[in-house]
Amino acid sequence: MRVFCRWVEREVTAFLDQELPSWRWRLVSHHLERCEHCRFVAAETARVIEAQRIAFCDAAEEFSVPVSTNLDSLWKKLEDEVFADPLPLGLRLGWPIKRIGYAIGVALFLVAAGYAGRDFDVVERALMAIGVVDPPPEVVQSAEFFCNYPVIEELDVLEHWDRLSQGLPVSATPENGHS
């Protein structure tokens, strides 16, 4: 796989959502015309996005949230509804069974979405994000590090941006109105 294919794979969701700037959209589009592998990835991604769209609409309907609403308010509803546990202590013993139910549900969704056997880390990550599975302790302890990870990764270049970016297009420099 070429380096450019990796870049296109990262951009393909934004490409399908029409969220790319026009010049990047053209680059990806041109590449997809020529690369069978990336066309396959784009088709698979489009299929998963459609499954997600349906799931999102179902969720919005179930929790009486308009589809056009802010996603965060839907999340809040989901968290309140799915994870609030109003049962008395004695009845909470059913929670491990619920967790197994959630895990089976997630697996079914992934099979339906074509993820099975492809990237199963996604399941665990999703369960951690919604609070069903505990995250690794180092993530909790170093949350600030990972929150700022993109800037930390490129800190060397970002700190020396002024000198390093000489000769790059003007629009690429943040001090020239691109903040």
């Binding site: 997600q52 179902d58 969720a59 369960l127 990972f146 700022n148 800037v151 490129e154 270049v157």
Partner: protein
């Protein structure tokens, strides 16, 4: 019913986490993060784990430097990051190469 809700919740995780540029999370502790931000943090953690030891040490040095920066400097670097993320890969590579040349690194 629990299964259905789980499917829906997971679908939403994928929906909100798909695509787009890497964004910095405004909250700084796991408990303050929204599920969407947690998902992104976990992806970054996995990327970090795959880095070679030398690169991880470098990242930790960068983090220590980052922590000592004043808020206005952090804000400036965040703005630069947005511009960085808009650059095409070859331009990013060129900037990295320029930095390495200046540092005399291999």
């Amino acid at each position: 019913m629990g299964i259905v809700r789980s499917i829906i919740a997971t679908g939403v995780v994928f929906t909100v986490s798909a695509g787009g540029l890497a964004r910095l999370c405004p909250a700084q502790s796991w408990r303050e993060l929204s599920p969407r931000e947690r998902y992104e943090v976990l992806r970054r953690y996995e990327r970090y784990k795959q880095e070679p030891e030398q690169r991880r040490e470098r990242l930790e040095e960068n983090y220590q430097r980052w922590q000592q920066l004043p808020p206005e400097e952090k804000e400036k670097l965040r703005r630069r990051l947005e511009s960085w993320q808009e650059l095409p890969p070859d331009k990013r590579e060129e900037l990295r190469r320029r930095f390495q040349d200046r540092q005399g690194q291999p």
